[in-house]
């Protein structure tokens, strides 16, 4: 760049506007990120005086920790359940919203509402629904004759993981629905009219027109759901606390760092969790793009 492309007064004004942003992002995000990465190779422990370099020892210890193992498996279960349910439900809701003419904005408002509520409050509301003695879930299932007696839902790990996922899906499905609705609305209407003239069935239209044309939105929705499910904390923490049956990787990071005060182990685990969530969502994006590139 040559000097003549810049003007002094513009640079001065830009400095006033941009320097605070650079300071905040640098100080509160980039510096801590660098510190986390670096210190995951040291032994940082507020209870012990020095912080020697330990190489990959923090990472190695994570490989043998039972709590860490359990938390990874739980997180993978959350990701699989949440992404599947959010995508199926979100696509259904988006198709419905796209078809409705009368009162669409009100249905959209109702659909978006769960996303707007504090996740903690969602979890409390659902905790009451799941209550073993007086909860709505037992009452409904008893009324329908599906169960014979009240169940303590969180006594079974598979059920507990599923119910925590339900609460998470309840909150995050609106985001998938809105992203897919935006994609659906960008499809030109005459494509469907042409297909109809050619005698294509609605299912064929969906497979040959809708699906390929919303694949970009689908990739974004999938990677969003994945990243949010990887970061699941609030719902599992409120519904079941530190229980090994339901603790996610992020809960494990929190317990390691802020309850057991093993800072460097927590940092190593948080780095692994970040990499895992980025890699998985990248795989989705690349696969969806590759599979639909020729359509």
């Amino acid at each position: 760049m040559t000097r003549s492309t810049f003007r002094a007064d513009e640079i001065l004004l830009a400095a006033v506007f941009v320097v605070p942003i650079a300071a905040i992002m640098g100080g509160l995000v980039f510096y801590p990120l660098a510190a986390t990465t670096l210190e995951s190779f040291f032994r940082v422990d507020p209870m012990r005086p020095d912080a020697p370099f330990v190489g990959l020892a923090n990472y190695a210890r994570l490989m043998t920790d039972r709590g860490v193992h359990a938390s990874w498996l739980n997180t993978f279960a959350y990701v699989a359940l949440a992404v599947a349910m959010e995508t199926a439900g979100g696509l259904g809701a988006a198709l419905l919203l796209n078809r409705i003419r009368v009162g669409r904005q009100w249905l959209l408002a109702a659909t978006v509402l769960p996303w707007c509520l504090p996740p903690v409050i969602n979890a409390i509301v659902w905790m009451w629904i799941f209550n073993p003695s007086y909860g709505l879930l037992n009452k409904l299932l008893l009324g329908l004759g599906l169960i014979a007696e009240n169940k303590v839902w969180f006594n079974n790990q598979a059920t507990a993981l599923f119910l925590v996922s339900i609460v998470h899906v309840w909150r995050m499905m609106p985001l998938t629905a809105v992203i897919l609705l935006a994609a659906l609305q960008s499809i030109p209407k005459d494509l469907y009219e042409a297909a109809k003239l050619d005698g294509a069935s609605p299912l064929r239209c969906f497979r040959l027109i809708t699906l390929p044309l919303i694949s970009g939105g689908l990739a974004i929705a999938l990677s969003q759901s994945t990243v949010f499910a990887f970061n699941l904390f609030d719902e599992a923490w409120i519904l079941a606390g530190s229980s090994v049956d339901t603790r996610s990787v992020i809960i494990q990071v929190y317990l390691t760092a802020f309850q057991n005060m093993r800072f460097s182990s927590g940092m190593a685990l948080s780095i692994l969790a970040m990499i895992a969530s980025l890699v998985v969502s990248l795989i989705y994006v690349m696969r969806v793009y590759r599979e639909t590139r020729f359509d």
């Binding site: 760049m1 003007r7 007064d9 640079i11 004004l13 830009a14 006033v16 941009v18 605070p20 942003i21 905040i24 992002m25 509160l28 995000v29 980039f30 510096y31 801590p32 990120l33 986390t36 259904g92 419905l96 078809r99 409705i100 959209l108 408002a109 109702a110 659909t111 978006v112 509402l113 769960p114 707007c116 504090p118 996740p119 903690v120 409050i121 969602n122 409390i124 509301v125 629904i129 209550n131 003695s133 007086y134 709505l136 609106p174 985001l175 809105v178 992203i179 935006a182 994609a183 974004i220 969003q224 990887f230 970061n231 992020i250 929190y254 760092a257 927590g266 948080s270 780095i271 969790a273």
Partner: protein
Amino acid sequence: MARLLRSLIGRAGLAAAVCLLLVWSLGPVYWSFVTSITPPADLFSDPSFWPKHPTLEHYAKLFGSTSLSQGNAVQSVWPQFSAALVNSIVTAAGATVATVAAAATGAYAFVRLKFPGRDILFYLTVATLAIPAYTVMIPLYRLMIFLKLIDTYAGIILIYVSAFLPLALWLMRSVYQAMPTSLEEAAWLDGANRFYTLWFIVLPLAAPGLIASAILTFLSAWGQFMVPLVFSPTLATKPLTVLLPEFVTRNYVDYGLMNAAGVFAIVPPILIVVFLNRYLVSGLMAGATK
């Protein structure tokens, strides 16, 4: 005839789908509200979808100076509840104002002004959207202790700004990029300076984008749990989201009280959805797809 029948079935299916979506989205919220106005005795014997004896008892417990729980007088929760409510409002509103101000001016600089390092700075800031909060939490905790900002409004708001600014900046940049420069240029020809054009011409035109950024930031800050769980240890800054789960005692959970308090925490988001949903949805779409 067959055609009419098919269209009728189609309509019925559509109506059923709409009902299902409404029950799924609103049912839990409605149930929470019903619980909050159902007397404790009914809660544990025969809760119904339409409360037979609506009561404000649980709300009275929130506001009262003393309260009864299972027949025993217990300390009122109002001092804690009111402090947490104020903390939630102050931190969420403060973060919203600071984030939107920084995004409005910063994005303007990133779009309209030429300065060295412009693009790299913008993309670095937006790239932090991919960094989860917990990855920076531990060094941030030490930094906040060092700066003596633990359990202060300033500390919490600064963390929220660093977390929510990238999305707001991304949104505002797309708003400015879609805006023609001709109006600004006309104002400069009339002798207006940059501050004047930004304040009186650009910002009013960008109002929908500003509202969308404000809504997204406010909702994120209002619902935040993990950040205050670590950085707000006392009632000096502890918000509702951290206080409410503490109402769960080891042997007894007052669900009526919890739901009444929860209803308070969901009133601001509900107002936003009812009155500003257009901006919210456009912000979500722009934030997720551009």
